[in-house]
């Protein structure tokens, strides 16, 4: 078999075989397997190459490809057909987005979503946004109605106040807006 030019093995072709298919003979093409094994038996450099390929495989075996946490599995099963939640389509996508609730290690938005998930476990962004808007309106109202709020305003020239609110800080005159 070794004499067949199609299956003739040299150190170069043996190393190429190891790079393409790895060190396990079972993964080598059947047409060259026997010739490659025979070559490895009689060639010291081939044995060294084989040992090196096996060492690389052993190293790769030590690198984990990731764990599966129960939380992600549960989130996926929530979206499955016939799941008890009955979620499909849009609801399923919402559940996916809320999936970050158990993994707050993403973007800041993910963290906010995660916190929101505790307060509004069945909602998206609508309710937190509405509450934020309500807080802003309430704060504005309290600010307007607080006693003495306008005393300092009365001391300002309208132009100064406009400049204070709308112009860049570099244009402020600290002496005037006091």
């Amino acid at each position: 078999m070794d004499n067949d030019p199609k299956t003739e093995i040299t150190l170069e072709t043996f190393e190429a075989l190891l790079d393409k298919c790895g060190p396990e003979p079972a993964s080598w093409p059947g047409a060259t397997r026997a010739a490659a094994l025979a070559f490895a038996k009689r060639s010291r450099p081939a044995q060294a190459a084989l040992a090196e390929a096996k060492a690389l495989d052993a190293l790769l075996d030590q690198a984990p490809v990731g764990d599966v946490h129960g939380a992600v599995k549960a989130r996926i099963l929530e979206t499955a057909p016939g799941a008890s939640s009955g979620m499909t389509g849009g609801a399923a996508i919402g559940a996916r987005q809320r999936g970050r609730a158990s993994a707050p290690h993403g973007s800041p938005g993910g963290v906010i979503g995660w916190l929101g998930g505790f307060v509004w476990p069945q909602s998206g962004w609508g309710q937190p946004a509405a509450l934020l808007a309500a807080c802003l309106v309430a704060g504005f109202y309290v600010g307007l109605s607080a006693p003495g709020s306008f005393e300092s305003y009365d001391n300002y020239d309208d132009g100064d106040l406009f400049a204070y609110v709308f112009e860049a800080p570099s244009t402020w005159d600290a002496g005037e807006v006091q």
């Binding site: 190429a16 190891l18 790079d19 393409k20 298919c21 790895g22 396990e24 079972a26 993964s27 080598w28 093409p29 059947g30 060294a48 040992a51 090196e52 390929a53 096996k54 060492a55 690389l56 495989d57 052993a58 190293l59 790769l60 075996d61 030590q62 690198a63 984990p64 490809v65 990731g66 764990d67 599966v68 946490h69 992600v72 599995k73 989130r75 996926i76 099963l77 979206t79 499955a80 057909p81 016939g82 799941a83 499909t88 399923a92 996508i93 996916r96 999936g99 970050r100 993994a103 290690h105 993403g106």
Partner: protein
């Protein structure tokens, strides 16, 4: 790891009838049979997360991709037609495309000079030798070009044959063997000292 699950049979696309072990299970999922979805998730989730984690470099993104894949599985199951491709091949293609989309979007935001994602290193306090080696190997894998990393992950860590991996990546067997060759040669360079610890210097 997962050495026991490896199937090292060389399989060229189109040379054999497709024998898909998932066919019945996918039909059961489509029929809402109790436990079918859970069994399908148990069977494939670790590989989906493992592949996505290797491509994207972090667990959170990998889990999101896995969730996306299964949403598509639930949608696809009722109309799945066995015989054209194995279901797991289709799932891997979906996962890879989702990963590539995410990488493309990140590059658009950050720019083409974005470095390859670095895998999460273990806590330095856990200075066990095995963890250090694992971290070193992960770093080396992350230094490979994306497609070489995918090829190594599919063929080595997931035990796919070259032919199966080629189908999953939608490339020829010759192309995947080229990716594997270049990937393995680069890894040997990067991990020379660790390999010498195992076999002694050449």
């Amino acid at each position: 790891m997962q050495a026991g699950s490896r199937r090292r049979v060389v399989n060229r696309p189109g040379t054999a009838a497709i024998n898909d072990p998932d066919t019945d299970l996918v039909a059961a999922v489509a029929a809402n049979q109790p436990g079918a979805a859970r069994e399908l998730v148990d069977r494939h989730l670790p590989r989906m997360i493992g592949l996505a984690r290797r491509v994207l470099g972090n667990q959170a993104d990998a889990e999101e991709v896995a969730q996306e894949v299964f949403l598509r599985v639930w949608k696809q199951a009722p109309t799945w037609q066995p015989g054209k491709a194995r279901f797991t091949t289709w799932m891997h293609r979906v996962a890879l495309n989702l990963c590539y989309d995410r990488l493309r979007k990140k590059r658009e935001v950050i720019g083409e000079d974005m470095p390859e994602p670095v895998d999460e290193a273990p806590n330095p306090g856990e200075a066990l030798h095995q963890k250090q080696v694992a971290a070193r190997v992960n770093d080396a894998l992350q230094m490979l070009p994306e497609r070489q990393r995918v090829a190594i992950t599919l063929c080595h860590h997931q035990g796919q044959s070259n032919g199966e991996a080629a189908e999953m990546m939608e490339i020829s067997v010759e192309a995947i063997e080229s990716l594997l060759s270049r990937g393995r040669r680069k890894l040997k360079e990067l991990l020379r000292s660790e390999m010498n610890d195992l076999i002694g210097p050449r």
